[in-house]
């Protein structure tokens, strides 16, 4: 029995009642990472010494009777595109392989203030662009349930380390499903909050109007705990909501009887894996048995979500990633001497000049294929003559998608459907065909486009032994409702308590 078999809330109780010391928890977490992570590959960086020092400091202060923060002694893993002043922040890209931010993200500052222990940085698709973590330039992360399968993405490292019980809490980010889809693939709980709920300051942007940081944990209760510590207004983020943060742990204790749930029938009856269809349908019976009122509901424009998303996200990304040009930080391609240049390179140099050459070589070498594809797509869609047909059109459809949600939430308190059309796929299965990979985001992207919260919880396991995710969505700032539904479901079932087979 490992200390990390306990949930985050249980560990916190043990810490607060002085039954265990933070140093024990952190040591246990570090040793599990050391022993169990090599075949999984969730961590890009382990903050071994820093984490131990922070844990000892918490223990010392608790011993002296000094106040400690709300997460004092709990290890938290961070997706490696959240800036940390004391650890590298790479975005799993060659471009930032040696980047050390001179500042902390707001969520990091809040976690430090809560005395959480920042245990390390987890792998992701390069710059969060992908749905399998295969586009990481630095490392492969495997699904703990079946190592031939992807963990999902882009927050694949955070999902895998939670599923392997390496840490109790992790942060991921979700731009089109990047928390919820890996949570579904790895059998854990992942919440994408309402846009503006958690500060983006220090989150390295992929698509600024869609990105949101959220908790990835083993249960809805633990997610409530982590959201509580990270949510709230930040004056350094102009898109941060100045809306009071409710008591999430109190909210989840409420019964769900009488809550109205809209079943996304079209999604469920579309081309989803039959096992997923069955598991999600069974989940609705559970919720009904707990008193929830279910009705079918339709989001007519959500079928256009992927097309809309794959215009808006690449457009914003093409601009957000322009800063990686080898001048102020990050990778720079070496300047070749005249003798080393090929004839065509010399000709290019002649026509473009050394600076443009440096830019192009740096970006060509520093970015991987998927990142380049999205930069190209976004640059194309924003360029002269295409703006109206692509970007502006997508912005208009985006509003229609949002209006669908607004209409739905006049009738129901939450929406229910599958997170993904299939369970975790095999490595290489989709990476050669970008469009097939993108289509896997069909059920998750609409929440990002609309800026609304979505939550993924485990609701079954396929005969092959791969987890299945249940998708709960809600209106603006309805995180309490979603967590409450999820918690009630987890009180009634044990899917969230299932662990991957140990090899």
């Amino acid at each position: 029995m490992s200390l990390l078999d306990h949930s985050a809330l249980e560990l916190l109780a043990l810490l607060q009642s002085n039954q265990v010391r933070a140093e024990q928890v952190v040591t246990e977490s570090l040793s599990r990472i050391e022993q169990l992570d090599p075949p999984i590959g969730s961590f890009l960086h382990v903050n071994h010494d820093g984490a131990l020092a922070a844990a000892r400091d918490v223990d010392r202060r608790r011993h002296l009777g000094q106040p400690v923060g709300a997460l004092a002694g709990l290890p938290v893993a961070l997706k490696d595109l959240i800036c940390t002043i004391d650890q590298p922040t790479t975005c799993a890209s060659r471009m930032l392989a040696n980047f050390r931010p001179p500042y902390d993200a707001t969520v990091v500052a809040r976690l430090r203030a809560a005395d959480a222990i920042l245990i390390g940085k987890t792998n992701l698709d390069e710059f969060a662009m992908g749905s399998s973590t295969e586009s990481s330039a630095l490392q492969r992360t495997r699904n703990p349930w079946n190592r031939d399968h992807v963990p999902g993405g882009s927050s694949g490292g955070s999902a895998a380390c939670i599923a392997s019980d390496l840490v109790p809490l992790a942060l991921g980010t979700d731009t089109g499903g990047s928390i919820r889809q890996p949570a579904a693939f790895c059998g854990i709980t992942g919440l994408k909050p309402t846009y503006g709920r958690v500060s983006r300051y220090g989150l390295i942007a992929f698509a600024s109007s869609l990105d949101q940081i959220g908790p990835m944990c083993r249960s809805a209760a633990d997610a409530a705990l982590l959201l509580q510590a990270t949510a709230g207004h930040d004056r350094h983020d102009s898109t941060s909501a100045d809306v009071e943060v409710p008591d999430y742990l109190k909210a989840i204790a409420q019964p769900i009887s009488g809550l109205r749930i809209g079943i996304l029938r079209q999604q469920l009856d579309s081309d989803v894996d039959p096992e997923i269809h069955r598991a999600v349908t069974e989940a609705t019976y559970v919720l009904k048995s707990l008193g929830a009122l279910c009705q079918d509901i339709d989001l007519p424009h959500s079928q256009y979500g992927v097309a809309t998303y794959y215009v808006i996200a690449p457009c914003e990304a093409s601009s957000n990633l322009a800063r990686y040009d080898g001048v102020h930080y990050g990778f720079r391609a070496t300047q070749l001497t005249a003798a080393e240049l090929t004839a065509s390179e010399s000709a290019d140099l002649e026509s473009e000049g050394p600076l443009v050459r440096m830019y192009r070589r740096t970006r060509e070498t520093g970015f991987g294929a998927e990142v380049k594809r999205r930069i190209m797509l976004g640059t194309y869609a924003l360029s002269a003559g295409y703006y109206d047909a692509y970007y502006l059109k997508a912005q208009r459809v985006r509003r229609l998608i949002r209006q669908d949600f607004d209409r739905a939430y006049q009738q129901v308190d939450a929406l229910l459907g599958p997170v993904t059309p299939t369970p975790a796929f095999r490595f290489g299965e989709k990476s050669q065909d970008p469009l097939s990979m993108y289509l896997g985001d069909l059920f998750t992207v609409s929440a990002n486009l609309a800026g609304l919260p979505g939550l993924s919880i485990p609701c079954g396991i396929t005969v092959q032994g791969l987890p299945i995710g249940l998708h709960l969505q809600g209106p603006s700032f309805a995180e309490p409702t979603l967590l409450r539904l999820a918690h009630a479901f987890q009180q009634a079932t044990d899917w969230h308590a299932r662990r991957p087979p140990t090899s």
Partner: protein, 508 residues
């Protein structure tokens, strides 16, 4: 290197066979403490790369937050330029690569700028240009880029980048192509700069880059003899890198002449070649073509997702409008109507800046005579400032003291003939009026004492009395001299009149 021009431009005043069409884009640094989207200071002259933060160097993850004061100052300026302020404005990204632009885009305003459709009236009483209304297309807020320093031998050495300036708030004011000569362009810039400094929205220091000007210029050339005349337009050229108003004037003069010669040589018209950018070379006094970037026009503007729109209500605008300071044009009018100053002098005073105008107003209010105050300020004060290389802020005679000096003259307490002497001593020795008067032994002489003195002198000089009575009035001068010798405070004009009156009385 481009050779210096071979043909000389037509002499000033000569009839030119074309109309000059000029529009100006002026970038003004707003007088804030911090940058437009972060809280780094904007102090000029700091050591390189010491005024930056994650936001303005575009570090991954950093986010912009709009500077409240920068926005307020931009609204103040736009209102003073008679612009419409739309209820809704937003922020756009202008995407291009340059090493002093660390994010790879500039945050600017594209299709919904914070103001549009304004104007600035030119009314030059000094006669350098005619009265004109220059329309303003728009004024929008944007962030400045950093500074690139290139080595002498281009292509050989590294370029050095200083990002202290990056993110400094700029207001870009774009005029319609309403200007018809280099002199008008200069008058527009002069009036604009005056307005901005009166408003206190910018220090307009060109040496420090607080005011930068780009000009778009082409020619309309009438051809053929039929009516209406057929007009040929030459290709529009954008001139950059002009770092003084004088440079703007000279660059436009050069460019106008160059375009005319080029049209004569090639016949090329607008639309037959892409818009050209030329830089002004201050040393050789020529414009030179700048390296054109083939894709430079494709900036891929789109709304910045990191910044939210700004809305302004009519009430908010009226509240700001009510705090607007007096503008130069209004002050000129006030000097003319309330202070009896001539339009020419009103122009001279107002164009010296708000501090000198305030000095004048205080002098005039103290002495109660606008014309006299104007004479003293436009002549003695301005001349002394020029000679002593002084600013009005450091001028040794306070406005109230000068006002009292003028008052003393009017009251007869200070002989008019000695007023400039007193002014000079106050200036040189930095003394107040009373101390100066007593040091110079100037006291008011009452007219009774003067009459007594006159009687004494006339009694002692019967020959002079006889000469005057015989019609040789100038003989009185000798007695005036004697009077001044016996009392230096005697005003010669006053004494002369008293003596003549006494002679006339004795004769009658």
């Amino acid at each position: 290197m481009t050779p210096p021009p071979t043909s000389t431009p037509p002499p000033v005043g000569a009839v030119r066979p074309y109309t000059v069409i000029v529009g100006l884009e002026v970038h003004v640094q707003l007088a804030t403490h911090t940058k437009l989207f972060c809280r780094c200071p904007v102090k000029f002259g700091a050591p390189p790369n010491t005024q930056t933060c994650p936001v303005c160097i575009g570090l991954p993850g950093a986010l912009p937050v709009l500077n409240e004061t920068a926005y307020y100052l931009s609204v103040v300026t736009a209102l003073a330029l008679n612009c419409e302020i739309p209820a809704y404005t937003k922020w756009d990204r202008k995407n291009y690569y340059y090493p002093d632009l660390p994010k790879g885009y500039q945050i600017s305003q594209f299709d919904l700028p914070m103001s549009c459709n304004g104007w600035l009236d030119l009314s030059d009483a000094q006669g350098r240009c005619s009265n004109r209304r220059i329309r303003i297309i728009r004024a929008h807020l944007e962030e400045d880029a950093g500074k690139s320093m290139h080595d002498e031998i281009a292509g050989r050495a590294d370029t050095r980048i200083d990002l202290n300036r990056t993110g400094t708030p700029l207001l870009e004011i774009v005029s319609q192509p309403d200007l018809r000569s280099s002199a008008e362009a200069k008058a527009y810039l002069t009036e604009l700069k005056l307005l901005l400094t009166y408003l206190g929205v910018s220090d307009c220091n060109m040496q420090e880059g607080s005011l930068r000007v780009d000009a778009n210029v082409n020619l309309h050339i009438p051809v053929g003899s039929g009516t209406p005349e057929e007009i040929i337009e030459t290709p529009i050229v954008e001139i950059k890198n002009m770092n003084s108003f004088r440079a703007v004037e000279r660059a436009l003069d050069f460019e106008v002449d160059r375009q005319y010669r080029e049209w004569q040589a090639t016949g090329k018209q607008k639309g037959e070649m892409p818009k050209q950018t030329r830089g002004w070379d201050d040393i050789h006094e020529v414009t030179k073509p700048q390296r054109s970037k083939e894709e430079s026009s494709d900036y891929r503007y789109f709304p910045d997702p990191d910044l939210v729109p700004v809305t302004t209500t009519t009430d908010q605008l009226e509240a700001i409008r009510s705090t607007l300071k007096e503008l130069p044009a209004a002050l000129r009018l006030r000097l003319i109507t309330d202070y009896g100053v001539t339009p020419y002098d009103a122009d001279v005073i107002v164009n010296q800046g708000r501090t000198l105008a305030d000095y004048f107003l205080a002098v005039a209010d103290q002495c109660g005579d606008g014309k006299q105050a104007c004479n003293w300020v436009t002549q003695e004060v301005l001349r002394s400032m020029k000679e002593g290389n002084l600013t009005i802020e450091s001028f040794p005679i306070p406005s109230l003291e000068l006002g009292r000096l003028i008052q003393s003259v009017q009251a007869g307490k200070l002989p008019r003939s000695r007023a400039k002497e007193v002014f000079g001593v106050m200036l040189e020795q930095i003394l107040d009026l009373d101390t100066t008067l007593s040091r110079l032994g100037i006291q008011a002489v009452d007219s009774g004492a003067l009459t007594d003195l006159g009687r004494e002198l006339l009694a002692a000089n019967p020959k002079v009395v006889a000469d005057v009575q015989a019609g040789k009035e100038q003989a009185i001068g000798a007695l005036v001299g004697q009077a001044k010798k016996s009392n230096p405070n005697v005003d010669p004009g006053v004494m002369r009149q008293i003596l003549l009156d006494l002679i006339r009385q004795s004769a009658g």
